[in-house]
């Protein structure tokens, strides 16, 4: 019994590692995959490889509509650019503040991040109160040679598994 118990851990871990390696890490992805609506979330974007073997020099993320505040992570060796846009009509912020400008695009430039290493890029956002919806964060990965665009959004009823370069997505679930 003890012998069996000793093996459960490694087995589960190896399977988990293989599953996590398989499809998810072939793409630029976001964690967590679902988060409570109408709350703050710490999103982590993983860049698992370069563009066709070339080192990554920039990661640009466009934020979906409905995100009223966003704060990118500071990273050693990367310069952060925050691009804002004016809202058509001022929106009510979470603390009763009126908001006129929202972050449209966040970009980390620098590196270069070699193809054989990975890195993560953090973003704290306030998610909108739209439980059940999926938010897409299209990502442009710029490299020393070439660009990979993780911007494909599945059409209604289509699974994103079939897409070649799907945009990272977060599903909003009801707040507990």
């Amino acid at each position: 019994m003890r012998g069996l118990q000793r093996w459960i851990g490694p087995t589960v871990a190896t399977v988990a590692a293989m599953v996590s390696c398989n499809t998810a890490l072939a793409h630029v992805t976001v964690q967590p995959k679902d988060a409570p609506a109408n709350s703050y979330a710490h999103l982590v974007f993983t860049v698992p490889h370069g563009c066709n073997g070339s080192a990554t020099t920039a990661l640009r993320i466009r934020l979906p509509d409905g995100i009223l505040s966003a704060k990118p992570q500071m990273k050693q060796g990367w310069k952060v650019d925050i691009k804002s846009r004016k809202l058509d009509a001022p929106a009510q912020g979470p603390h009763g503040k009126s908001i006129t400008d929202v972050v449209e695009e966040v970009a980390w430039r620098g590196g270069p991040l070699p193809d054989n290493l990975y890195d993560t890029f953090g973003l704290i956002v306030r998610l909108p109160d739209k439980a059940g919806q999926t938010l897409y964060f299209p990502v442009v990965q710029e490299c020393e040679q070439g660009v990979d665009r993780w911007i494909e959004i599945p059409s209604a009823g289509e699974s994103s598994d079939k897409l070649h370069s799907p945009a990272p997505a977060v599903r909003l679930k009801a707040k507990q």
């Binding site: 490694p10 871990a13 911007i151």
Partner: protein, 526 residues
């Protein structure tokens, strides 16, 4: 808790130990033969180079008839797959359709097309290389061939049939233009090969270049032209009936050589255009061929001059009428509409040629109506006059032939719009509309023209358009190319659909850095 911590460590270890290349989908970096190339001979092995080592799933070679053969002899060499085709590949198109598993366990597919011997059926001969030196050489060689055919073979015919003066000067002219043209003809095969393979002049010594050049209608035309030039050379050395037969053969040969290849002779309907080019060529050869012997006759005895002139004057109206009628017919077929005469480079070449031809006709008319009657009335000075105007005509002819040689580099409007019946389809999604024209609509190299609009009929501006073609029916995996913008929402790309049947065309339209529209439509290739 301790178990959990240990599991976490194992997880980390496993992640680190899994092959480091396992993080990306494999993608094809290069292939040999490269996509779209034309080869002279069948390659014994094919290579696919990926960005990481891959495991082949299915790799097949599909030829233009749709027959597919699985490749079973596959050697792995690092990130390369070296394939040995199951049989020797024949002429025409071949698609390598591959499906492999990348190290991350994802199957990835793609295809690449190459051609052996020739590219497509009756693909219009449009210069592919931008090499000015090569273009200049092609033009000069063509001019030399024209002069040999028209002045040389035409001159031999005139001497034999219209009893033109068979003087040493005439024979010398014939020998020179015919010999130069024969050499130019040989060289033209190599230049044609260089052009087809898109190689520079420095590769002229490569045997493959000559094999490709001699392929198809161009090689056949060159062989007929060479025979015509040889007959013309020999007819100068013969006399009487033999010379007549030989020079007639040369004249017919010129017409056949011209009618075998080129834009005009291969335009549709061919039952009309091929004979028209033949008639145009024969009439032209008769006229131009007469000029040198006539100029020389002006120096001979007066009675001979008058006799030759009379015979020529009787025959030439028929030749000119045939020339103009066939020329008009070909111009209508090639241009399709009048404004193409100044809006296309083909039309501008034609307009310039017509202007010079009008000048030539005016001089000829002056000779015929004014000078000829004066010579008949024995005015001494008029013969010198006539000789000068004929030499002027010859100079003008060289100019016209030089301009005609430029057509080698300008596809006619007809070929630009339709080489055959194009395939048209309209795509409509919630965010865009696309008019897609695939021409020609039959198997081979194809041009895809795309007009993008928004659903409310406005021009849809895009940053980039990539087009993917695949044919599940033919077992051909997708192949993708980037289209080029022509402005105004118009995009164009050249690809290959070498097998007839149902294909799927997929459009990925990049609207901004982060927005992409996607649509797919079935395409029928005959």
């Amino acid at each position: 808790m301790r178990n959990l911590a240990r599991a976490a460590w194992w997880w980390l270890l496993a992640v680190v130990l899994l092959p480091s290349a396992a993080w990306a989908h494999a993608s094809l970096i290069a292939s040999n033969p490269a996509d779209g190339v034309l080869l002279a001979r069948a390659p014994s092995t094919l290579t696919l180079t990926f960005n990481e080592p891959v495991e082949p799933l299915t790799i097949r070679i599909v030829d233009q008839s749709g027959a597919s053969a699985d490749v079973t002899q596959i050697r792995r060499d690092g990130a390369q797959l070296v394939l040995t085709p199951p049989t020797t590949l024949g002429d025409g198109a071949h698609v390598i359709s591959w499906r492999v598993i990348s190290a991350d366990g994802h199957p990835v597919g793609g295809s690449t097309t190459f051609w052996i011997g020739w590219r497509g059926v009756n693909a219009p001969q449009v210069v592919r290389s931008d090499d000015m030196l090569l273009r200049g050489a092609i033009w000069l060689v063509r001019l030399a061939i024209y002069l040999g055919l028209f002045v040389g073979a035409g001159g031999a015919f005139f001497v034999a049939w219209m009893r033109g003066p068979s003087t040493p000067a005439m024979r010398a002219i014939g020998n020179v233009v015919n010999s130069v043209a024969l050499a130019a003809l040989a060289l033209s095969v190599g230049l044609q090969g260089l052009d087809a393979l898109a190689l520079p002049l420095s590769s002229l010594l490569d045997l493959d270049v000559w094999i490709v050049g001699a392929h198809g209608s161009f090689g056949l035309s060159a062989a007929i032209a060479a025979a015509a030039l040889l007959l013309a050379l020999l007819s100068h050395r013969a006399s009487g009936a033999l010379a007549k037969v030989m020079s007639l053969g040369a004249l017919v040969g010129v017409g056949l050589a011209l009618a075998t290849t080129g834009h005009a002779a291969t335009a549709s309907p061919r039952w009309l255009t091929t004979p028209a080019v033949f008639v145009h060529g024969v009439a032209l050869t008769f006229w131009i061929g007469a000029l040198a012997p006539l100029a020389l006759a002006m120096r001979g005895p007066r009675q001979t001059t008058v006799n030759v002139l009379t015979r020529f004057s009787r025959a030439i109206p028929f030749a000119v009428a045939a020339l103009l009628a066939s020329g008009l017919l070909l111009a209508i077929v090639q241009l399709e509409r009048l404004d193409a005469l100044w809006t296309t480079s083909y039309g501008r070449v034609l307009a310039f040629k017509l202007a010079l031809v009008a000048l030539l006709l005016a001089i000829a008319l002056w000779n015929r109506l004014y000078l000829t009657s004066r010579i008949e009335r024995a005015r001494l000075k008029s013969r010198r006059h006539m000789r000068r105007t004929i030499v002027a005509e010859l100079v003008l002819v060289v100019g016209i032939l030089g301009i005609v040689g430029l057509w080698r580099f300008t596809p006619p409007p007809r070929a630009l719009t339709v080489a055959a019946v194009p395939f048209f389809t309209h795509l409509h999604t919630g965010q865009m509309m696309a008019d897609i024209t695939v021409s020609p609509g039959h198997a081979g190299p194809i041009n895809i023209a795309i007009q993008l609009r928004t659903p409310d009929e406005q021009v849809l501006s895009a940053k980039g358009v990539s087009v993917t073609l695949s044919s599940a029916d033919n077992g051909i995996e997708p192949s993708t190319a980037e289209a080029q913008s022509l402005g105004g929402g118009q995009w164009r790309v050249s690809m290959a659909a070498p097998v007839a049947g149902r294909w799927t065309l997929t459009l990925d339209v990049l609207i901004s850095d982060f927005d992409q529209l996607h649509a797919a439509a079935p395409i029928l290739i005959n």
